[in-house]
């Protein structure tokens, strides 16, 4: 409840980086370290570069969606449509017609679909006054239908060599997808923490009435938040099209739940106004690492699921305790 505000003179720079709100994320870092130890103990391969890069590549697509989701949730909303908007964008940009124009047009299309869907979400929510949950749920369903309609329910193969090549390209041994993920996170972090846009996002999520009376244009800002989320879905669409070499209406099923879960595990309040992007990204990494550990240890699905539920609870408990003992409970 009560958040302390004592002076913390001896806080290291590192701690501050993971922080932006009082040691909040140290718990998640501890969880990751713990998972790493489990990985090293139970498998030979966990700590290989190849495996760690696999984890990061796996994390990259959900990770990009999570950046957008973090903005929306801190701003007091929710976006259930990200996964299927991504699918729609992947389908749109991989139709034969689009592909014939080459990769620039493909990327443009994917981003435009994402932005367009975000804009529609934002307009429904602000001017239509439909609660975000319902508006974006409707978008989820419609985007799914539209993606099926356009693709004729087939996986559309990416023939463009540039797009197809993204997932195969490595710079200095690291997959390009990981760079894209990192770039989105860095840009997202800067926007959220170092711009007036980010500051307003916190204000609007924290107390929309106060923000309105302080002269912020709450509606316009809310629309922009969903556009940001849609843009991230568009970027993710290109990434998944490259990774799977297809555009498909089946992409991204339930990704919205994964993204929301990562954001919340990362310490962002579902009611808005408070949260950190780093926390969300750590949340994504925790989820992805858990899955990776299961694969490496060759667990059966059902055991995986039972264990995953328990692990999530444990992770959050560790995090809550860490938070409390770091004096910010």
């Amino acid at each position: 409840m009560e958040r302390a505000a004592r002076e913390e003179p001896a806080r290291s720079r590192l701690a501050r980086l993971f922080d932006t709100g009082g040691g909040r994320n140290l718990g998640l870092v501890a969880v990751l370290v713990l998972l790493g130890v489990v990985g090293v103990v139970t498998t030979d391969t966990f700590l290989t570069t190849a495996n760690l890069l696999t984890v990061l590549t796996q994390a990259s697509i959900i990770g990009v969606l999570t950046v957008g989701m973090t903005f929306v949730i801190i701003g007091g909303g929710i976006d259930l449509s990200v996964g299927k908007v991504m699918a729609l964008a992947s389908v749109w940009c991989t139709t034969v017609a689009t592909q014939s124009f080459g990769w620039v047009v493909m990327i443009f299309c994917a981003l435009a679909v994402g932005v367009g869907a975000g804009l529609v979400n934002g307009l429904l929510i602000t001017y239509g006054r439909i609660v975000p949950f319902i508006a974006t749920l409707a978008m989820l369903i419609s985007a799914q239908g539209l993606a099926e309609q356009i693709s004729g329910r087939r996986s559309q193969i990416v023939t463009d060599p540039v797009i197809a090549g993204i997932a195969n390209t490595r710079l200095a041994g690291i997959p390009l997808l990981v760079y894209i993920f990192a770039a989105v996170v860095v840009v997202g972090w800067v926007v959220l923490n170092r711009t007036t846009f980010g500051r307003r996002t916190f204000a609007i999520g924290g107390n929309p009435e106060a923000a309105r009376l302080a002269g912020l244009d709450v509606r316009r800002h809310t629309i922009l938040l969903y556009v940001v989320s849609g843009l991230c879905a568009g970027i993710a669409a290109i990434m998944i099209a490259s990774l799977t070499t297809t555009g498909s209406s089946t992409h991204g099923t339930l990704y919205e739940l994964d993204a929301i879960a990562a954001v919340i595990i990362g310490g962002t309040l579902l009611t808005g106004g408070r949260g950190t992007l780093i926390g969300s990204i750590l949340g994504v990494l925790v989820f992805t690492t858990i899955t990776n550990l299961f694969i490496l240890n060759n667990l059966a699905t059902e055991v995986q699921n039972i264990a995953k539920g328990a692990l999530i609870v444990i992770a959050v408990l560790i995090q809550t305790r860490a938070q409390r003992s770091s004096g910010t409970g």
């Binding site: 391969t45 796996q58 996986s155 297809t246 089946t250 992409h251 060759n298 059966a300 995986q304």
Partner: protein
Amino acid sequence: TSNEAPSSGGASVAAAPAGDNAEPGTPVTIGFSAPAADHGWIAAIANNAQAQAEQFSDVTFQPVNPTNDVTQQIAAVQTLINDGVDALVILPNDGSQLTSVGRQAIEAGIPVINLDRIFDSPLAYRTWIGGDNYGMGVSAGNYIGERLRAAGVANPIIGEIAGIDNLPLTQARSQGFADALSTYGFSVGPRQAADFTAQGGQRVTANLLQAAPRLDAVWNHDDDQGIGVLAAINQAGRSEFFMVGGAGSANAMREIQSGSSVLEATVTYSPTMASSAVSLARLVAQSRGMGDLAEHEVPASITLASATITRDNVADYLSLGFES
């Protein structure tokens, strides 16, 4: 009942190959990746593959965790490639989406046996083995066509309850069904897609029966969801039509045998293909051919035939039925 231990799936394992193929060769590790089992057919696939591998002393079986998320399946197969297995058996969630990772394996020198859902490019697999979805639809269509023609029904109303509409296999089945019916001058009436679950089958059928107050025949693509389909039919108290199932589950066969429900036939799509796929993977990895064939190599593609099981021949097939 269906509640026996999962190992009962072992009963449906295909006979071991004939000839000298059974003799041990160089030890090989076979990696295996399939979608998460969310219904009986997929569960049978995994069980059959496992059971078949256990029959060979020279095979180490390495399955990766099944998943329904394409990107995770890609990661899982990449893990197997990193591990350097000798052969891969892959049943992809989506053939197109795993084509690139299949090619990666081939380029890494690992032969890939592509099971059922086909990759886009032959460069991504060494051998494909799978069922005949189009042929399955044709079998169902022919059976229904023959029955109705024999009964002299003019303008019959024929319902179709498909599986997951997004899968190419569903589209192929529906196409075969429609094509076969058209040779009799019939066409498909109400058609809805369920989701391969009993619950989806029940929901769609309950509504569909309302849309069609009279039906002459129904083809349900999948015997797993068929449990729900039958439940809905019973609950509606409808029996003026007959139904054909799909895949060939033990449960469906028992229903056919008992003759007590509208389910009078099913067209097979047998999960035994997984057993064969493991056998093929072993042979390919050991650079051997198939015992009874003249060629020194394993063929590049093998398509299973879809049989029609009716009350007359169900006894022959019961042992191959998989539990839902």
